[in-house]
Every structure is written in structure tokens, then in C-alpha cells.
Symmetry: C2
Subunit: 142 residues, 2 copies
DNA sequence: CGGAATCCCTTCTGATACTG
DNA sequence: CAGTATCAGAAGGGATTCCG
């Protein structure tokens, strides 16, 4: 398991937050583009693949599929293509039989993983709180 | 526009990253639950609403709809209900005519907003890089 | 092994119309 | 104003089959 550059990038990003009024406090044309990018990147499978690759460094297609519990081969392929197109992962095809394809995060992908790291931690820390809120909401409505 | 607690929570969370090998380096049962929670919370509209409410403090239904460019009234209602159920927002109904309903982030919601902040900044910083990667990919595939 | 292609069902999402 | 209800098209996503 590789040692990830999670702490430094996240902390430096976090520091820069203090310089801005809000995360998207910038010109409106850019804001629309940012929203679009967020929409594509804030995807369940993208986030999970990002994390698995961040943990393991480099994985083959099937290995990746096993690590990402619950994903179908179709969605794995689809998501990986999208991530490759967006510059998040590199896809290396080895000319051997049986074929071997390795996936690895690019620097861009690793930086997104680092940015998402805060959300993972949040999810772990607040699992119980969210569940409690749901129960309360459902019994009040139910 | 309220002054948000973005810097402190994000930095403290980021600091805690150094204590862990990876963001989900914990027991497998919890990991599945975390994945599920991520799947629900890593949603385009949830993220954008979270950010708009973080910036504005408290908003009425229609005001919120105007701030969230491109959302339909249906998705706005749906997403807000979900967020209310998950404990992210409070929904305050004023018994007046015409009706008035205010939405505001809870502490839980604000903390998620803080966690997402790194992703927003990432998206702003890497907009050009992603776009360039897409162009390169598309011309190569062509 | 690492896909691509197809089928088929479900969910998402926007538009429109209606209500307390 | 702040929704609910309904409909229809688009996209998401699983299962299966086939190929280099």
C-alpha cells in the first residue's frame, strides 16, 4: 500500500479557503463550468475508484473490479473511460496474452482524491448522525 | 452573506488524515455503509444546494431555486427533502399567507459543506486541465 | 483477460398542470 | 408561495453473450 500525498495537498487547499469568501466566489461564467465539472466528478463510482486506486497505486481491470464492491463490469469500463478522458487515470495496455491493462491515477486524479478525502472522513465520522436523523424523520412522518 | 466556518473544520479534518493510512482504512462493515452514504451525498444538486445555503445562511424555497441555476422545481423539492431527512437542513414553515418556508443548514450540513469545499476548489483550479485532457482524448480517438 | 455489444428494466429529470 | 401529481423522454445500470 503506497503512502499517499493526502495530508499536504488537503491542508494547503484548506489554507487557501481562508482567502476566499466562499468556494465559488468568482466570475459567473466560471461558476457554471465548475458546476458542470462537479456534476461529472461527484459520482459514486468515480469517487470509489479514485479511492481504491489511491490506496493501491496500480491495478489491473479485474483487480479493480474486485476492490470496488458491487460495481458491474459495464459501469467499471464506463467510469474508467470517463476518468481517462478527464485525465484522472492512465490506461496502460501490455501486448501480452492474456491481455493485461493497468490503471493508475495521474497527478490530477491524485489531487482530486486528496480533495475528496475530507468527504470520506466526514462520511465515516457522521454515519451514525445521519442514520439517527433518518430514523427520526421517518418516524415523525411515518 | 454569513461568515462561514470553512477554514477551521476543513483544516482540522485534513490534519487528521495524517493519522490514517487511507480514508476508509477501517472495518469492512463500516466501509460498505460509508460507500452508501457517499453515494447519496455525492450528488450534484446536494453539493450545489449545500454551497448556496452555506453562502447565504437562510433562504426561502424560491430564492433557493433562483440561486441554484438550472435546477427544476421538482429536483429542488426532492433534494431538499432528502437533505432534511439526512439532517443536513432545517425546514421552517411560517404560518402566513402567502406561505413562507425557510431553509437553513444544520451543523451537520455545514460540516459536509466544509468537507466538500476542497472539491470545489479543486474543480476551480483544474477546470482548464480537465478540459485540455478531454480535447486531447477526443482528438486521439476522433 | 479486458473489454464491446445487446437487451431490458429502473431511475432520473424536465415540463406541464393543479392546489392549499 | 411552496409545493404535489402526472407524464414522457433520457440516462443509469445489471445480465448476458461474444470477440481479439
Amino acid at each position: 500500500m503506497s503512502n499517499l500525498p493526502f495530508s499536504d495537498p488537503v491542508i494547503s487547499r484548506a489554507r487557501r479557503i481562508a482567502e476566499r469568501t466562499s468556494p465559488s466566489d468568482c466570475d459567473p461564467k466560471v461558476e457554471a463550468l465548475v458546476n458542470e465539472l462537479i456534476g461529472r466528478v461527484a459520482d459514486k463510482w468515480t469517487m470509489i475508484i479514485l479511492e481504491v486506486l489511491a490506496e493501491n497505486g496500480e491495478l489491473r481491470f479485474t483487480q479493480l473490479g474486485r476492490q470496488v464492491a458491487g460495481i458491474s463490469q459495464k459501469m467499471l469500463t464506463q467510469t474508467l473511460r470517463q476518468m481517462e478522458r478527464d485525465g484522472m487515470v492512465t490506461r496502460t495496455v501490455h501486448a501480452v496474452v492474456p491481455p493485461r491493462v493497468d490503471y493508475r491515477l495521474t497527478d490530477l486524479g491524485a489531487s482530486l482524491g486528496a480533495a475528496f478525502c475530507g468527504v470520506w472522513i466526514w462520511a465515516q465520522d457522521n454515519l451514525a448522525g445521519v442514520e439517527a436523523s433518518r430514523v427520526a424523520f421517518d418516524t415523525k412522518v411515518g
